[in-house]
Amino acid sequence: MKMEKSYEIRLSGSGGQGLILGGIILARAAVLDNHKVTQTQSYGPESRGGYSRADVIISDRDIFFPEATNFNCLLALTQEACDKYLFDLRDTGILIIDTTFVKNLALAADNTYELPFTEIAQSELGSAISTNVLSVAFLTKITGIVSDASLAASIALSVKPSFVDLNIKAMKLGFKLAENYGR
């Protein structure tokens, strides 16, 4: 992993998309890779809808400020989230957007990856429920921030036992999408 001082990731979208769980999975995977990590979140009062974001900072030093301020990577699953946080992305940062909901990209970043994650989850996996894992797996493959094995182990530890198989399937699909992206 090409680590700078620390690697800041923001997962953003709306409540119910499972972004906080996505953040936990990513953070736990980083722990399994022996990195130091903090994961914070902010969300509105509603469990479904409203804004939601999860920040993950991965570093090999002590992390002081736990919120992402200057992201190395931004995942945006809704138009509002994309509009709101895009300006805090570093110049060299990676932007990953879900084109199912993000139709209008105000500012084109250099490293932009566009895929209709929700649609893919719906058609390939039968439900939009694992959009979070699908997109986080895509993100980890693109950024190389955590190892594949750690992500798989983290998913197994973080989701309910009955959902492990579905999410592992989603993860593999995410990896595949990343490997084939742009080809």
Binding site: G23, I24, A27, R28, A30, V31, N34, H35, K36, V37, T38, Q39, T40, Q41, S42, Y43, G44, P45, I63, F64, F65, P66, E67, T69, L157
Partner: protein
């Protein structure tokens, strides 16, 4: 005293055999705690601040929790509702926060190690009960995961508005022990310390948390159970007729009997004499109030913990607690990168206020910056202690809008000074 210490001074210690036995039985249980205790040596895991409080409480021997759901402290109750029955402890969801504090005080007098967790509005409701625990010298712990106020405020947003309330909130002016962690690991450690101090000093100890720390997940490696020191209350060793519920000794720490042990004492929220019976004689009332004060002031060296971060050569000191101290550390790293000599002083024990330590550390610096997520509370304590400095040398950064003070905001203030 100036160095951050993680272990607590103690006399009592859990017997090792019991610890191991507890471990093996907990191992069987299928739950989150498997990850925590699957090895005798604990490994690094990811954990939330509130989870750390719950497991800290369990490791400290808490066996009674009464609480009422309130964001952002609910995870503590949720975890304990699952974990306490496994260890034979009691979890009860009460009808409100007032009932919760009363129930934990009642249980404590019956011999339990008890704890409750709440947030701003609930903490306000608990104040009368906290005063009762203090005057009756009953050990208990209140965890207050602070959120933005006043009133309902912003339930999922951080603020540090309860610093003064935790000290002065209960009517009738009594001393307080309040601890303030700045990380998930420290939440675990200070929860254990809070329970230990409550047992040792027979009072209600408050653990102040920031919403961000309560909900934040961090990679942590908790100490092995064998290294966790647990303090239990001193039990009376005299026949019942000689027992005084509020005994005097040089350190103002007195034995505590429990209901059902044959001591048949009386507990009252009225001003009382050494036996616990109501009195309105000025002499006895004054003695009681002195006792409440002195058991804190005489033991201040045991109570105060403070972290000194890069203060050796600092010309500017930042004084901050909890999550704001982490912003400050980030700002210090940036400032030092530019050659600015800044340091941080962070109280782990916020009340009693670490007067001596702060005074000593501030003597060597020119400027003090006090960032806090409120309208100015700690700043007054610092101004009180730095009489030789002018107003312009003690600067405040205040922010109450639901966002954290960022490292850049602190850095900007640092640059204003130089």
């Amino acid at each position: 005293m100036l160095k951050k210490t993680t272990s607590n001074s103690t006399k009592a210690k859990t017997p090792k055999a019991e610890t191991l036995k507890k471990k093996s039985s907990a191992k069987k249980a299928a739950s989150k705690i498997v990850e925590l205790e699957s090895n005798l040596e604990r490994k690094t895991i990811i954990m939330q601040g509130n989870e750390a409080v719950a497991y800290g409480a369990l490791d400290a021997g808490v066996n009674f929790f009464a609480g009422y759901p309130i964001t952002p402290s609910t995870e503590v109750a949720e975890i304990l509702s699952a974990e306490l029955p496994k260890r034979g402890g009691v979890f009860i969801q009460m009808e409100d926060e007032i009932a919760s504090i009363c129930a934990i005080v009642g249980a404590s007098l019956a011999g339990a190690k008890s704890l409750t967790a709440t947030s701003g509005p609930g903490f306000s409701l608990m104040q009368e009960g906290i005063g009762f625990a203090k005057i009756t010298e009953t050990p208990c712990v209140v965890v207050n995961v602070q959120r933005m106020g006043p009133s309902t405020g912003m339930p999922t947003s951080p603020a540090q508005g309860d610093i003064m309330q935790s000290r002065w909130g209960s009517h009738g002016d009594s001393p307080a022990i309040v601890l303030y962690p700045d990380s998930v690991k420290e939440s675990y450690e200070l929860t254990i310390r809070a329970v230990n101090l409550a047992e040792k000093y027979r009072t209600c100890v408050i653990l102040l948390m920031d919403e961000v720390i309560g909900h934040m997940r961090e990679s942590v490696r908790l100490p092995d159970m064998a290294n966790v020191r647990v303090i239990n209350r001193i039990k009376p060793t005299v026949p019942p007729h000689w027992y005084k519920h509020y005994d005097e000794n040089q350190k103002y720490l007195s034995p505590l009997a429990s209901f059902g042990e044959g001591y048949r004492f009386h507990v009252t929220g009225l001003t009382h004499d050494a036996h616990g019976f109501p009195t309105n004689k000025a002499g006895e009332a004054g003695e009681m109030m002195d006792r409440l004060r002195k058991k804190i002031t005489y033991n201040i060296r045991d109570l105060v913990q403070i972290e000194s971060h890069q203060m050796d050569d600092a010309k500017i000191a930042i004084f901050a607690a909890g999550i704001t101290a982490r912003s400050a550390k980030a700002a210090i790293a940036m400032a030092r990168h530019e050659g600015i000599k800044v340091g941080l002083l962070r109280p782990l024990t916020i009340w009693p206020f670490p007067d001596d330590a702060v005074r000593k550390m501030l003597r060597d610096v020119d400027t003090v910056i006090v960032p806090e997520l409120n309208q100015g509370q700690l700043i007054h304590e610092i101004r009180r202690l730095t009489k030789d400095k002018s107003e312009s040398d003690v600067l405040s950064i205040r922010k109450v809008n639901g966002d954290l003070i960022t490292p850049n905001e602190i850095l900007r203030k640092i640059k204003e000074v130089i």
